[in-house]
């Protein structure tokens, strides 16, 4: 029930069009969805340009296509993460304009693309094997209306590669730093810049990497300030959070 609908209802009540019990029931029956959570609804409309995202892993191509159809109808655009070739095929059979981002394991459909907000998000990754996660972050941030700059393969074992790109890194509003193995890149970056750094551990590594746990722990224990961390391989989460911050910096969300 929108505010407009609530006003109409009250006016109908005052004019005798509906009875007292009907008004009461309307307000009581579904307060959460309709009134009690008007804030939520409001807030959901505020973030209309942050459409729901489909996590493809473990879903059949048919299921993914179904959800995308619903999103497209409601939002005009959709992002599907962790897709496989079969998901892409299913989407292409049903929709036009499906963009497959192979490196990111993502697909996007954008009938009404978002205008880019000012401010830049830089996505760093330590090694080429971390690229799928970094790309998932980059595609997500891009899809949500941000200008994204990728600076890849700048791991700490060859520090000069990172340092030579420092200007670009420092000019971002938010930095996403993706790394597996020892996960040192976000700490080094957060020590060099004054903007928020979102650290993404990946499961790149072997042996005592324990599926990315080593990198995750390193990032949580960083001695550098301004670092926050998301789950192992959670490129989407990092891209989403970075976009929220960049939107704040652009004066949105207020």
């Amino acid at each position: 029930m929108t505010t407009a609908q609530a006003i109409t209802l009250l006016e109908q009540f005052r004019s005798g069009g509906v009875g007292r019990d009907a008004v009461l029931r309307a307000f009581q029956a579904a307060p959460v969805a309709d009134l009690g959570f008007a804030q939520i609804d409001l807030h959901r409309s505020l973030r209309k340009n942050f459409p729901e995202v489909v996590y493809g892993a473990g879903k059949t191509p048919a299921q993914v296509a179904l959800i995308v159809a619903r999103l497209l109808k409601a939002e005009g655009r959709a992002l599907v993460t962790r897709v496989e070739a079969s998901h892409i095929s299913a989407l292409r059979r049903r929709f036009r304009g499906v963009k497959a981002h192979d490196a990111a394991r993502c697909a996007t459909l954008e009938r009404r693309p978002l205008k880019k907000r000012p401010g830049k998000i830089v996505v760093l990754c330590a090694g080429t094997s971390d690229m799928p996660v970094a790309e998932e972050a980059a595609i997500t941030a891009d899809f949500m209306g941000n200008t994204v700059e990728r600076i890849y393969d700048v791991g700490v074992a060859g520090l000069h590669r990172l340092l030579s790109r420092l200007d670009a890194v420092q000019s971002a509003n938010v930095v996403i730093a993706v790394a597996g193995m020892e996960g040192a890149l976000p700490s080094v970056v957060a020590g060099l810049i004054s903007k928020p750094v979102i650290a993404v551990p990946t499961d790149v590594g072997y042996g005592a990497s324990f599926g990315g746990t080593a990198a995750l722990l390193a990032m949580l224990n960083s001695c550098a300030s301004g670092l926050t961390v998301v789950n192992i391989n959670n490129g989407f989460g990092a891209g989403y959070a970075a976009s929220q911050i960049n939107a704040l910096a652009a004066g949105e969300l207020s």
Copy 2:
């Protein structure tokens, strides 16, 4: 070596005032600190209002006092976290105006307090036992020039407490959500608002809480978007990152 100094040196070289080797040595000898890292220096001056913070734990009162003296001289203000009574006493013997924040286990000295920037940071905590960590976050954010609103004891086992404060939570630029035990608060909050949520696990709990690991893992695995996580009990880290984001939202740091 500043750009001006570099120009002077080059002119002296051309005019014969200094020899070639001297120029070469000047550029080579300390390139990192003076020229190669001019960016870093610049950036450090940019974040002058983010003074270094003293981690009190494991330091003697004398050591803490010494470091604070240096910071006061350079910055005019200092924040000491994880203080004990003996640290406070030592600071008070040496400095005037030491504020002890008992609940936060922090002390602050502010000869030149920062002006509050616009935008609000809300600090939530799940239970009263999580308060020391929440207060550390709140004091840090406050100290760094932010308006902070505390909403405590709003754990998910009594959801109405949180929901009844939803307006206040939604009006923040950034939310810090502190919780031990099952660590569910940040997920619930991030599902209700569209702003960045920084999750802080605490070691409150017993048994299979494993010193806060249960809460940490819950937060890293949140199904809500826009959540990033800091180390267990790291209230300072959350306050610092929230302040960075709020400064971005205020148009600073650009």
Copy 3:
């Protein structure tokens, strides 16, 4: 040996019908099965309507069919969990009336279906990926003679979905709450109702979910009272325990 049989034996002994050694042997030879464990036998007949269940995983189709044949003969009904297509085929080749519950990965054969006892068991799950485990719980509880209501996809990241179904949840005798990832759903539910909540962690998630460990720990550390937990993915165990409680509430088992 029942009490009646024991009395008969003693009377035969006194009347000389059996000798002393025969009596002694009867009491000594198999005390566990016959006398010492008469209680156990009694209790097993009490739970006749809780037939043994076949755990299909790791068993060949032939093995499953064999065990089911034995159960059908003894009980007239059987539940097989964690089945694959090959199990279903093998069962169908041998028995009529095999019901395959695909989502639950279960099969049931019920020649003599149980009458539903009063009282309702509600099965909640956080996300659609948790459905197989939730369905295993639901099928188990249904099979054991309970009315089951499913409320799915009500994870805490969209709290309004749960809150809008609160009436239904509160009207249950027992609630089974199934969740992977951060595992917060059971805590939130247990804070909202006064009935027993059985929490089931699932291995849905990735990275630091560690195969469901994050959700398991969250549930064990819940700050909400009245919550008990079963093993990761153990939908059957939750359905079984919920049925026991519902039977108690119906005045059975006493």
Copy 4:
């Protein structure tokens, strides 16, 4: 806002006593606490005989006394768990009739004791070292209006001790089985009876017990059906859940 208040408001609106905006604001301003969560309030009044419990650990004697005062005023009774001598002293200085349960590390104040409901809860423990946790469970269940029977020191290394008490165990509505070390007791018990068994691991043990983790894992992996588990040392949680189930069996909570 109660239903009565809502009706009054609507009537005032129709009669012109209040304006449309005032009505709208009343329904919108605090929907959660007042209308949207009427269910919650209702439900809280339903569980009035389950008063809030004070977790003493980490609270000062003064804090505990303050919370108890509030509970006594609202409920007429209070249970404090994990108390130390200083908590007891503080309570006794302020209140009359404080009962200290040393073995359980609990204190109770009961001006209006609850009438015992029918049905029995049996609390088992494996070794004498597990007694504090078992007693916490027993005192909690007793305090919540249940008849409790304690059967202690019946660990599986001396199986005859448990078997000789089997009748008593089988006559309970719910069994709480407390064990540290290898944590086998709940599995053995759940195999012998048809009632719900709540397993409580304790941190009794050393070496590879890892603070109760060994017992916890054993209980979660039990091959016996009908077993649910609470956190390590969580005697209160087990007593609370057992009381909920026993109340259901007594026809309450419906």
Copy 5:
């Protein structure tokens, strides 16, 4: 160098047949293998009836056949554990009399079978899924010259099954107790008998069984005396150690 060879050498030296340096070199060059470790050689000849065993996993059929050929030549018999069908085929192509023990995943070749020593080894297992590990233990012990009695599917969830076989268990010299899931069987058994019990955890289970870790920890933390533990799934190790103990009991190895 045997003692006889050493004497010969010394005599040749005294008679001038070999020089001093040659003697010195003979004693120094290979002291470990030839003289210093005469004890080891002796001891190896003592355990001739404990032939080396081939661990098949990860070896090609050809490699397994090669090693078996060497063992057969030296010992006249061989045991291969963790075999697959391809190993069996390769062995049968090359040797006659290959016995495949499918349940145990073992193969044996015995041209000169060992005479059974007196004394019995009982192998227990908790569930039918633990059988491969139990069979590996049983085949190993049998192959090493012991009379082995198998008592399977006697897990603690149906205690009467174990208790009804207690006589047989108590008549063994050594008991091997194999269990996955909660791993309680060895504790219960060791509480009932006075002979050594060797506990073998298996990886049977799911979720928080963590590949057998739950059972392993339970066994290590057993409150019953006289229990020792081997690695997860290490049926061979248990059979070997049980055979050593049984040989001691038979008066061998002294």
Copy 6:
């Protein structure tokens, strides 16, 4: 109830001295302790020379003294492990002849010392810090009637120390090998001898020793055959199991 008592009862019944119900009650009332578990009783009398042991840790001096009094009356001897000075004092105040084994943290009272059985148990330890655990094993084995030889400080970092004592090690019936840190000693020993080796990990170490976990895992993963393992620091368990094996070798327990 012994067999003799059972016969007497039956004869009294036949002669009319006791009624039918009394007989029935005698057999039913305590079937476990008296009849159903006659086997257990038998077996317990068989191991009379394996008296129950008091685990001192966490018990008050008064509690320990009480239990010891009961044991002394029943058995004439007692072993208390993990004692502190206060336990010793309390025992000495009450009993004569208390022997304090400081290094082993044990106390023994032996009014009727056991005759030593033939066969030797050797206790090895890797470093001097492992001595308390090794001594607990040695005192236990000695107290249970075994000849014990201690060979200490023979860790693998100085292999010659162990090799020079090889003869003594090989002459044992059972070897207990105690080690912390990397826990390699038992593997090396089991490779050198043909008798059962019981490995005891200790918590000696720091850092990634994780309280003895490193040594425990090393021992469980030993590539040497014939090794079984007990819990970290469980010297008593190793001494007990070794004594059982040595008793078997001496022809006892059959």
Copy 7:
């Protein structure tokens, strides 16, 4: 920018050939790569005979071939680790002289082979299953210009095998000791020699080996001095570090 280039630039500036801003820009624009990190460049040229290595796992054959082509052009030689058959084929289609080291899972291309430096590196492994990792270490060290001696299958369960090769081990400059399971070999070796020992845990084992964690922890906790450790299965890392040390011993790298 080399020193020579810098001198040229300065001379051109003095002679008017280039302007002041051009000089300034040259020094400022890329200080890291060109001047600030001249040290790094220098150092990279110093280690020219340590060419970059390609980690094959997770790369397509085409990707590997591309990187190898680049390395061959720059260095004239390349080492690819963790190769599969498809990598080898791709390399052979494009390059001549590809050597496949099957056991090591490596490939090498050496148009200009390095001259062997004096000093020997010995690579030990405990079991034949550890060979792939040992071979990776050996091939790496050999490829980097070292004489390598392999001594395999010398695990501690048959100590005489190691002791009989002690002379060879002691004559090395550096020893690489590779072991899975209990990981004891490096400790034993480091106790016997005075040279640096690099320990490599492998994931050989099962059950509580936890993918090599048991061996890793054992090595980290070694009681022998002079032992350092690399990641599980990291044969390349051990070979690289050993080569660095051997080069130091040969008077290189200074």
Copy 8:
């Protein structure tokens, strides 16, 4: 038995001074200690300048003094690590010239100080809290005859501090890099230099540092080549290994 003694014995045998059996016994009786391990003895005399070190933790002052007395007599010098004030006092009461290294928690006694070998060992540490471990490494290396340069507080969060000291770091033969928290320093350093880097994790940190595990895992998973790792806080081990390598570089140990 030295070679000289062996020769004497053989000559006495040839001249009839001792009989054949006496020679045989001399070679056989203690082959390990006397002949078989002559290599070991030799090697131990080679490393005379690597005296045994006393690990003070857990030893009484009297025990430490006793061992030091023995070492002083044999070696003329001793190093005691992990000392407390009471150890120092006890040493000073008994010996002159005891040097207490407070920061390193070490004491040294050097009657015959070693001459410094050429080549430098650099010890880096990330934060001031890591200093005790770094100092233990530095004192150990210094005591073993190496020139040591300390560069402290150069953690990666302030990279310019490390880079400005790069020349000094690159001029070392071996670098020891000590770090807690995220443990990134050794990776960064190993990427910048071509010499061996020994990484020492410390337990500095809190929360998910898990006592130094985070830093340990980061170091083991380093993407930089040439890095080897020792146990958490094992400064001594790093100093010892670095000294071995530096001795090799100086042409010793060959």
